[in-house]
Symmetry: C2
Subunit: 355 residues, 2 copies
């Protein structure tokens, strides 16, 4: 039941055993120095794993939250489905407090609750089994979506291509295959020799710590650069395509993603390099007319001014730390989804794809 | 004799006492956590200060080397100028081994040797005094050049302007007033309220560690960002001008500077922001036809993959670490020198300025 038919090389998060089992996830706070699964036997351990960023990335967080709920239900003494549903609502609230702004986490927990409501007539044991099924279904769906996205998109890459990417939109941000990096993995599996140039992605260095690590694990040649070097590698003709993920895509194609993405799109345009956004259809928010409606989250300046316990900037200065930026649709050569490639994206083409 | 007529707020390097005195320099390896002068009583201490980057920046290195030579001569037992010249040649070779690629260091030592040769008829004591005079002259000339450059260039800035800069082309890279930052200091002294957005400048963080520090010391409002945020702050209309320094300028105006500068020039063009290069005339190399002739120095990948003693990227990956890039003259709105502003620089205008 809990065995997925798709077996990723990197299992970001997995379930071991039956409904009395446990979850395991790659502890991303230890990468790249140490590769270790963190075992979560109870809901508190999963709450903490989400809180301290042992697991991160929108799709991965949805799976983690769903599995966290199953862990919570292990402790319930409910004798029937109705009583179990009551406990589930408590566990759900608790997990929602782990990272209050993570949209996928809420989405997955709502989905779990809906399934529990539909099956409240079951025995407590059967309902717990059904919950585990659903958590694994969320995980498997993410895997399938990422694989489909990779397959659709890999046609954009030729044998020998060098792809520049930013941040980590890879296996580690999802259940195990990635979005931007799904194209790389799929192209590689199709026998193309594709290499990657990874921006380190300050301030949190997801490119250096996570993208470089997972590509190396997958034996994909990877070269690390600082974010400020992207223009130079493009000028030297070392970049055949830029591929990035997305946090949110507006109806017109404007795309919010990790800070630095917009600048890359300008540099790609200047150097005649195609710029691709890879994201599941669920990332597209048709309620948002365009990128101007997307608020830019500001994060703590200490992410920039401190390095673990060491200060790298003087006290008393201002710091500006926007977490993401918005790339206008006009700078995007194509958006790659699991349903196909949307070239020169606009509202009409996007609406046609998601219908 | 050793008192300069120009007194900078930040004295990057200074001489204390007569020819038997000592040099003091701001230990830049300790910034921004700790502001401390490093006292160099003998030539070995100065050699080490240069080697470990306690002092850096082309103009500052020239001054440091010249003062290092004066420190060496303190130990000489020569009784006449001719004998002292012999010892000086030894000390010069020793200092040249501190940072073999620092052009200004060689230039300053050659100048000192030439003056010694011209004055070999002096007594040893008088020649040592002459050498100290020359070291201080090198320092004062740099100060005057930077101040003149600032004065010529500050007309480019209006009251209320916000300037984006990259790396450290400030007081700390020179004897004490800077090149790019000279325009900021001069505009501020002229009563204009000018603020600065400082790129942190990975991998060595000269922007975060040095530029943010010296601007704060000078009470100039400064906001620190990561390099990848420059496009976003331009898009938000927060940047009225970009001003950077230069390592080397070709006859046509193509400019080599810290990695990331070229990308900034592309972003500035996209956002209609003027892009200025501030550098003394001595930076212009008329023997170089254009930027294609400037080799791009590659530096150790560990500058990117390590953070003090901590690994931030996996082992076994490639790293690309170009130390600088070349901005084509076409992306440069103006080059600011101590002799004036060269707008839309080209070979003809540059030749006319340096004649």
């Amino acid at each position: 039941m809990h065995d997925s038919h798709v077996r990723p090389k990197i299992e970001t998060i997995r379930w071991v055993g039956d409904e009395n089992g446990y979850a395991e996830l790659i502890d991303q706070t230890l990468l790249p120095s140490c590769f270790k699964y963190l075992r979560c036997d109870d809901i508190e351990q999963m709450w903490k794993a989400i809180r301290v960023l042992s697991v991160r990335g929108a799709p991965a967080l949805g799976v983690a939250a769903a599995m966290g709920l199953v862990l919570g239900l292990k402790e319930s003494s409910a004798k029937n489905g109705e009583a179990l549903l009551g406990d589930l609502t408590e566990y759900k609230k608790y997990l929602e407090s782990s990272r209050p702004t993570a949209v996928n986490l809420f989405w997955a927990l709502d989905r779990m609750e809906r399934i529990a409501e539909e099956n409240r007539h079951m025995t407590a044991l059967r309902l717990r089994r059904r919950m585990l099924e659903e958590a694994i279904a969320i995980r498997d769906e993410d895997m399938r979506t990422c694989r489909a996205l990779g397959k659709k998109g890999e046609s954009l890459l030729k044998d020998g291509d060098s792809v520049l990417t930013h941040c980590n939109a890879g296996a580690l941000a999802t259940a195990g295959y990635g979005t931007a990096l799904a194209l790389i993995y799929a192209a590689t599996e199709a026998g193309k020799r594709v290499s990657v140039i990874a921006d380190e992605s300050r301030p949190l260095l997801q490119g250096a710590r996570l993208t470089a690590w997972e590509l190396k694990e997958a034996s994909v040649p990877v070269t690390l650069i600082c974010d400020s070097m992207a223009a130079q590698v493009m000028k030297e003709g070392r970049v055949d395509a830029v591929i990035v993920g997305a946090d949110r895509i507006a109806a017109c194609g404007d795309t919010a993603n990790k800070i630095g993405t917009y600048g890359l799109s300008v540099l790609a345009k200047e150097h005649g390099v195609p710029f691709y956004v890879a994201a599941p259809v669920s990332t597209i928010d048709m309620a948002l007319a365009d990128g101007a409606d997307i608020p830019i989250e500001q994060r703590d300046g200490e992410e920039i001014t401190r390095w673990s316990d060491r200060k790298i900037a003087p006290d008393g200065i201002e710091v500006y730390n926007p977490a993401f930026d918005v790339t206008p649709a006009g700078n995007i050569t194509a958006i790659v989804t699991e349903r196909g490639i949307i070239r020169a994206p606009d509202r009409e083409k996007i609406a046609a794809t998601i219908e």
